[in-house]
Amino acid sequence: MDMQRQNPLTAIMSSDHKGIFLGGALLVILFSAGAFLVEGFASSNNIRSILLLAAFLGLAALGQTMVALVGGLDLSIPFVIGASNILLAYLFGTGIPAVFCILIIAVMGLGIGLLNAVLSYRLQGQALIVTLGVGFAVVGAAQIFTTLGSQYSGTVFSEVPKWFATIASINGKTLGLPIPPVVIIWALISGLVVFATNRMRRGREIYAIGGNRTAAARLRISEFRVWLLTYGVSGLMASITGMLLLGFSGGGFAGVGDPYLFTTVAAVVVGGTSLLGGSGGYGATVIGVLVLQVLTSLLVGLGLNYAAQQTVFGLLILPMVAIYARTPHIRMQI
């Protein structure tokens, strides 16, 4: 029963945030290793490209984190990314003002997220497959839409406005700084989300629902609203990612989202958010995203191909999670 003052190290190791500390430490180690082993690794160009690619993954993984906090997984993310990507390219080609095009797609992404919410709220436990089904339907419909009456088939080319391309291109500059604007946008969104989930009412409600839905209901926390919020954010962020990827590549392609199916989950997990809901957070995911991206860059620099990178990712997840997210022994749960 006695409580002694904890020393800072044990305090960190026993706190909820130890994932962030360990992930941060790993990040530093990986980066140092890269700078030491790979020529040009610490060059501003390389750092910029790491940050740029991290921004895309980070934005896509934001929704995945929110959904994981309530114990779900959103498998529609890659498909919404792909659909937004080709539909935006298509809209740019129609002559509608660019800003409207972007708004339309954002609203569509949000709508798909809300649809996911409505469907999976009633089908909890099946959310995984519901979102997968919605994803298939959305990307199929988007491709049919762009294919009909045109020569395109899953890919769409059109003139992407210069200002839009600058946001997400590696040479993009923010207020004269050689940092692509999307990185800054990601940083701002991250800060906002971390603050909101920790300090604001709607954010804490996500954790409450993820922890104990019945108890939350008794406290007038609407589970449905939280579902709408998390899946809605997920759909919106996926569509934003899809649009930014159009700026990055300049041509619409339904498959751009494919790599984000398991990598968003991996980023969430490496960060230390439990997939069962209630613990973790976006701050952790940001670390997870950076770890994955720095590691990718390191592995590419070391000449490892995609296959080997996958394997290393897999091998990395286990010890990371084993260090900071071990399930307590069953004895301790009784």
Partner: protein
């Protein structure tokens, strides 16, 4: 009597939708694709759907064992056995059926033991272990066989011809069903159910939950091996990435079959029905000609059917009881 009926309804209510779905799809097939009902058509159906059916069966005991265990690694694990059969095993000169079956099942079991050990001893949650496993194996498979190729032993690649109804594939499936049926009657199976439904209860009533978890994974391992043999027979060669697509398909079949990933509901019969339903969905969709948009149409309809059947599951199974 009514009590027994009620009991049965409770036990099988999760099968209403998958069974209904299969029935409806069969009916559509009778019009759209009647060849399916010929001996040759059926043989082809069995041949093509066997890997998925077995993969869906394989992940069922793991899902039943609780802790939100969805085996994401099932696809790459099947792929691993497939590529190692055509590269390692044939180069070692083992081509006999016994060697291939033993190899496939042993490798399947070893992989599942590795997963189970991570879950039991390192205490990482199953979904994360299997996600890591997915990534590791999909990379390893590409290292072992960078591109599709290699040849399966002749007797095995002959399976792919698939015109005989009573084919080896059918016997493998029947063997898997029989094994499962026998397994279901053991006390161990009851323990898996109990552990999946409430692990703390299982532990405190004196069941060795670690052994039980290993048993669940081992049964999955055997089925993984059989699925891999059937896949190798189907494509007659090795392919490092074909297995990967089986992961989402198997999970989809599992869920379509009425098993809740949140635990507590479902069984292998549902998974089998789910896998058959998925096969039939593609047969029905392929029977239409959508021309240039064919692939997209298939994708969209498939997604819609998934969502609709899940919504039907909701209607068919009893509404969740009010929380206390």
């Amino acid at each position: 009597m009514t009590q027994i009926l009620h009991h049965l309804r409770g036990q099988f209510s999760h099968l209403i939708v998958p069974a209904g779905l299969v029935a409806v799809l069969l009916l559509i097939c009778a019009f759209r694709s009647p060849q399916l009902f010929s001996a040759v058509g059926a043989a082809g159906a069995i041949l093509v759907s066997a890997p998925l059916i077995l993969a869906a069966m394989a992940i069922t005991p793991i899902a039943m064992a609780g802790r939100g265990g969805v085996d994401l690694s099932i696809g790459p694990a099947i792929g691993f056995i497939n590529v190692t059969i055509v590269t390692w095993l044939t180069s070692w000169g083992f081509e006999s059926p016994v060697a291939v079956f033993v190899f496939a099942i042993v490798v399947g079991c070893i992989w599942q033991i590795l997963l189970a050990s991570m879950i039991v001893f390192v205490r990482v949650s199953p979904i994360i272990v299997s996600l890591a496993g997915f990534m590791i194996l999909s990379g390893v498979n590409l290292v072992i066989l960078p591109r599709p190729g290699g040849l399966a032993p002749d007797w095995l690649s002959d399976w792919g011809y698939g015109t005989e109804l009573f084919s080896p594939v059918l016997f493998v499936l029947i063997a898997a069903f029989v094994l499962w049926f026998l397994f279901q009657r053991t006390a161990m199976f009851q323990h898996i159910r109990l552990m999946g439904a409430d692990e703390k209860t299982a532990y405190t009533v004196g069941i060795n939950i670690n052994v039980v978890r290993f048993a669940a994974h081992l049964s999955a391992g055997v089925l993984t091996g059989l699925a891999a043999v059937c896949l190798t027979g189907l494509i007659g060669s090795g392919d490092p990435s074909q297995g990967n697509t089986l992961t989402l398909q198997a999970i989809t079949a599992l869920v379509l079959g009425g098993t809740s990933l949140a635990g507590g509901r479902g069984g292998v019969v549902g998974s089998i029905l789910g896998a058959i339903a998925m096969y039939l969905i593609f047969v029905v969709l392929s029977s239409f000609d959508f021309g240039a948009i064919s692939g997209f149409m298939t994708q969209m309809s498939y997604g819609l059917i998934l969502v609709l059947s899940l919504l039907l599951t909701l209607v068919a199974t009893r509404p969740k009881p009010a929380a206390v």
